[in-house]
């Protein structure tokens, strides 16, 4: 799924557009607020992270840093949260796009699940 289509489904606002679009679109969701949990799920993924997006309530720069470590290129903040300027600045330097959706974690996951996006735990794109 293209970033624009995802944004529409989640009624999301684009806060930063890196211009990056994964080959074959976004197809996998990592939904979490704890950074080590994010890394644990991504450690189990297959050959690359191109199609993975992150849904999170955390808006500090570490969320972007953690995403950069595992090549997540799209971060969507929940409950209409807007990150601090430092978070956006770091995302810009890492080529990561940022959106914010008014939906909660539960609703956002429900919307994307209904569209057949998969959980990162079952990621097997290039395996």
């Amino acid at each position: 799924m293209k970033r624009e289509e995802l944004g529409g489904l989640l009624s999301a606002t684009v806060l930063l557009d890196s211009g990056y679009e994964p080959e074959g679109g976004y197809d996998t969701v990592c939904a979490c607020d704890m950074m080590s949990e994010l890394l644990a799920s991504m450690n189990q993924t297959g050959q690359n992270s191109r199609g993975v997006l992150l849904l999170t309530n955390m808006t500090n720069p570490q969320v972007v840093r953690t995403s950069e470590m595992v090549d997540i290129r799209l971060v969507i903040f929940l409950r209409g949260k807007k990150p601090a300027p430092e978070t956006i600045a770091l995302a810009r330097s890492c080529g990561i796009s940022i959106m914010t959706t008014p939906h909660t974690m539960f609703s956002s996951c429900g919307i994307l699940h209904a569209e057949k996006l998969q959980d990162v735990q079952t990621y097997n794109r290039d395996v």
Binding site: S36, E37, L39, A40, N43, N60, E68, V70, D71
Partner: protein, 138 residues
């Protein structure tokens, strides 16, 4: 090839910079994606622990044709019970650290899972040294 990166305890805004630099070096060297991901996860977790718990520390990176060796050492409180610290879910993270999304007690287990070999040496009141290794060829 050898690199060294210093890490300052408590400096959360700069935390992850060392791991990010290591990642970029590996990319430039043309190291396989899978290996870069594992090194990134392990070095980032080690760097975050120095930031969260120690006064200061450093990451030493050595790359040879067969393997990548990283040592994360710090001057800090040390780990009184290493077996306990290695248990998933065990954490002494403060509320301030938790507010930033850390403190799941999964950092050390993540390092173990991401690497081919890992060892922790620690002296209470002095500091901690975590060494890990990732093979370039399987």
């Amino acid at each position: 090839m050898h690199w060294e990166f210093s890490v300052t305890g408590g400096n959360f805004s700069g935390a992850g910079e060392a791991a990010s630099k290591i990642k970029n070096i590996l990319k430039k060297l043309g190291i396989a994606y899978e290996v870069i991901r594992r090194v990134s996860i392990a070095s980032y977790e080690a760097e975050m622990n120095i930031t969260a718990y120690a006064d200061e520390g450093k990451l030493l990176v050595d790359i040879d044709p067969l393997e990548i060796n990283i040592t994360a050492s710090d001057r800090g409180p040390g780990i009184p019970d290493i077996d306990k610290a290695m248990q998933e879910g065990f954490s002494t993270a403060t509320p301030a650290i938790r507010e930033m999304g850390f403190g799941a007690g999964m950092g050390l287990p993540n390092i173990q899972r991401a690497t081919d070999w890992m060892v922790i040496n620690s002296t209470v009141g002095k500091g901690t040294e975590i060494k890990f290794k990732i093979y370039l060829k399987t």
